[in-house]
Symmetry: C2
Subunit: 456 residues, 2 copies
């Protein structure tokens, strides 16, 4: 953990190498235990936690409570053998502050709940109402270290595919893919929309860089509250030209496995600490939607063979099957009905009722979708019209296809869903630092409204 | 350039190593020249350009025009010595297609302008009206390869500072920093806003990870049209706890230099091809606003010594001074008046009229701003009230300060401005793939409105 420009401070992780030396540590008081004339403090910084043993007579120590920010000048001592704590990397040492060595950098109010438990045990609304405080809990931090690693793993995978990073806009003049589930923006008096995905823009970049990746926010105004939908999500997208359907499937599976491999290695300490289940990475089975439905019918006795998509329970079941039969936590589902997919999806030339589309399921939930795209201009215009939309609303997009577009396709991972399933979280809101849904933007919208009314 | 899952295709960059071999190249026809019985084609893919020499009698070759997508099976031949082209890496070879070896993968309409010139020479509105086509020009591509490198360089710099990557939302329930220049969103019937910056969220993350970075979209509804403002920009942000003002200055300058170093190395071919000026990286001068104004007064005879900020011409002049006196294309300006800065800016304890704030200027334009922040809860509440805002609108934000917040600060680079100035572009719109401004979202809003009226 590099920390440039912190010349004076010692990170607590480095204290075991500094026995007998003077140090200045800075961090948050995690716990305080009074033992007669001595006060034991656990002090945390971003590198870990260390014990401080201070005399109760120190003028500042009596005031210290959980979450106080302190600077402590003192000497690192080896702990007596019988008092060593094998559970933490600094368990062999403790800091004994110098006289007047404890500086209170920032005070903290009395906490509304105890942050010093292995599990917070708060109801989800409380967890989110106090988000900027609850995120201080080590397990909450760990979720977002895993998320950070997933993003880095995605970048690695996308770069191995030879993709160029691009930045795409989030304000659009028309609803990206049709449908009513869009947020409207007042744009200098014009009506604009938040993009439902980076889809159209990444496709437009294929003739420029052939292969591109982007991390983009996507906005869906779905008027429903489920454990796996957010109104603002983070999408990890690739789009590639000159590829076949098979190559697309190979590519998305490679990137998915790279993300998992990278994260499990980078966060191995977190996987151990929270006993997270390692991902089963057997060869990923590929099933058409109809094949998957057939398996679900035979193995689980539920007949969804005429449905146009997998229901949530279907996704759970087919993942269970893939884990048992193929030792894989991933399963790829292909060939969804053409009508159920967006206008840019390429129909299967062998049976145009079905499309060259795919979802990647992971531990019971869809974490990726994508397709080979229609790359023929005339066919694309027809597809837009067939869905009752106006090609004029897609002028700049269609231009990319009018002047030479190779066969192309791509895919999009949902970052919060990957995080949720990798960490074994029950609700996607726990996998977003500041989740947006129908009922909440930081605070509950109901409370916000009430409050606004009071003000009037 | 790695390209997984492209087993059959040869990238044109690899053809010089394959003389005498059969290859299949795929790409876009760039130019076509007819010489008697032979047709010379330049074919480009993401790796470069190569010459194809086909007999005019080939059934497909007569049809080929600029931007057609082709697959060409043929044999790589060494060119005769006198016909070699030293200007391109594949200039020693040419591809001779097999009989029926030319496949037309996708056709192209006749281009509205010539893409095969070293400069496009289009007016800016035309450049943007045809954006998905004009981006195919090599110089346009090069701009965004430089942009990609700047982002990667920023990541490198932020990671060297020990920052953790975070994802922050872009929909907020109140205007981030006050002011009227915000876009309103209809959020399930509630009024919400697009964030003016990731500012408040990254600050809230200091007690979680101490040091964080994020790449975020920022939205400013400024009702003005200048060459250096966009309505949607890409911000490269860091925020760091337990740092002094000096350490913040050191950090931002380090990251800026890392971005430039990384980009100049990664894109050295582009810098050569387009004769881009290398950045002058002498020790970066640091001036307070008042010192800078004094220099401008003395050296350039313009008295702005009582202004609260530098005017555009001031920025140009002080950069000129820095380049001449310090051989630096960067200059850091500090201590802007407290009143002119957002509520979270820390006043200078030595003179509270001025603040611990800073801008980084680069080649005549501000490319970064930031500050040490107020980290004391009571002081922050007072600052919010002093500016006529309601602390209730900042409840979750303030909570982070109520429970122990160390001294902290941060900074934010504007990606499009860095790109513009590094590439020497006249207008920031050229530094955004799909720029948003008061008059345009992909198409011109005036045209869009007219069109909408016609439909009614």
């Amino acid at each position: 953990m590099e920390m440039r420009n912190e010349k004076l401070r010692t990170l607590v992780q480095d204290t075991p190498q500094l026995v007998g030396k003077e140090v200045l540590i800075k961090g948050w008081v995690k716990t305080r235990r009074d033992h007669g004339k001595l006060v034991f403090l656990d002090v945390t910084d971003k590198s870990g936690v260390v014990q401080v043993v201070a005399p109760g007579t120190d003028k500042n120590v009596s005031e210290l409570r959980s979450q106080y920010v302190v600077g402590i000048k003192g000497t690192v001592h080896k702990r007596p053998e019988h008092l060593r704590n094998k559970k933490i990397p600094t368990g062999d040492v403790e800091i004994q502050p110098h006289a007047d060595g404890i500086e209170i950098i920032s005070k903290a109010d009395t906490l509304p709940f105890d942050l010093d438990q292995s599990e917070l045990n708060l109801e989800l609304p409380t967890l989110l109402d106090f988000r900027s405080l609850t995120l201080r809990h080590p397990k909450q931090q760990a979720i977002f270290k895993v998320q950070e690693a997933l993003v880095a793993g995605f970048r690695k995978g996308a770069e191995e595919l030879g993709c160029t990073e691009i930045v795409v806009p989030t304000i659009a003049i028309s609803a990206t893919e049709g449908g009513a589930e869009v947020f409207a923006v007042d744009y200098y008096g014009h009506k604009a929309y938040l993009t439902q995905s980076p889809q159209l823009y990444k496709q437009m970049m294929v003739p420029i860089f052939e292969r591109v990746w982007t991390i983009a926010h996507a906005y869906r105004a779905e008027p429903s509250v489920t454990t796996r939908h957010l109104s603002e999500t983070t999408q990890l997208d690739c789009e590639m030209g000159f590829v076949t359907f098979e190559e697309l499937l190979d590519s998305l599976e490679q990137v998915g496995v790279t993300m998992v491999d990278y994260t499990q290695e980078k966060c191995s300490d977190i996987f151990s600490a929270y006993n997270l289940e390692r991902v089963a990475l057997g060869k990923i089975p590929r099933l058409t939607l109809r094949e998957a439905q057939e398996i679900i019918f035979k193995e689980f006795g539920r007949d969804s063979r005429k449905e146009k998509d997998l229901a949530p329970q279907d996704e759970v079941d087919i993942c269970k099957w893939a884990k048992e039969k193929h030792k894989s936590d991933f399963v790829t589902i292909t060939h969804f009905p053409t009508k159920a997919k967006p206008f840019y999806t390429m129909p299967d030339p062998k049976d145009r009722q079905y499309s060259l589309s795919y979802d990647l399921l992971f531990r019971g939930v869809e974490v990726l979708s994508g397709s080979q795209r229609i790359n023929d201009y005339e066919m694309l215009v027809k597809s837009i019209k067939n869905r009752g939309m106006n090609p004029k609303d897609f002028a700049l997009y269609l231009m990319a296809f009018k002047y030479g577009m190779p066969p192309e396709g791509g895919f999009s991972f949902g970052l919060e869903r990957m995080t949720m399933k990798l960490f074994g979280l029950a609700n996607i809101r726990e996998a977003s630092l500041f989740p947006r849904d129908m009922e909440r933007i930081d605070e509950r919208l109901s409370a916000h409204n009430k409050d606004n009314q009071k003000k009037r």
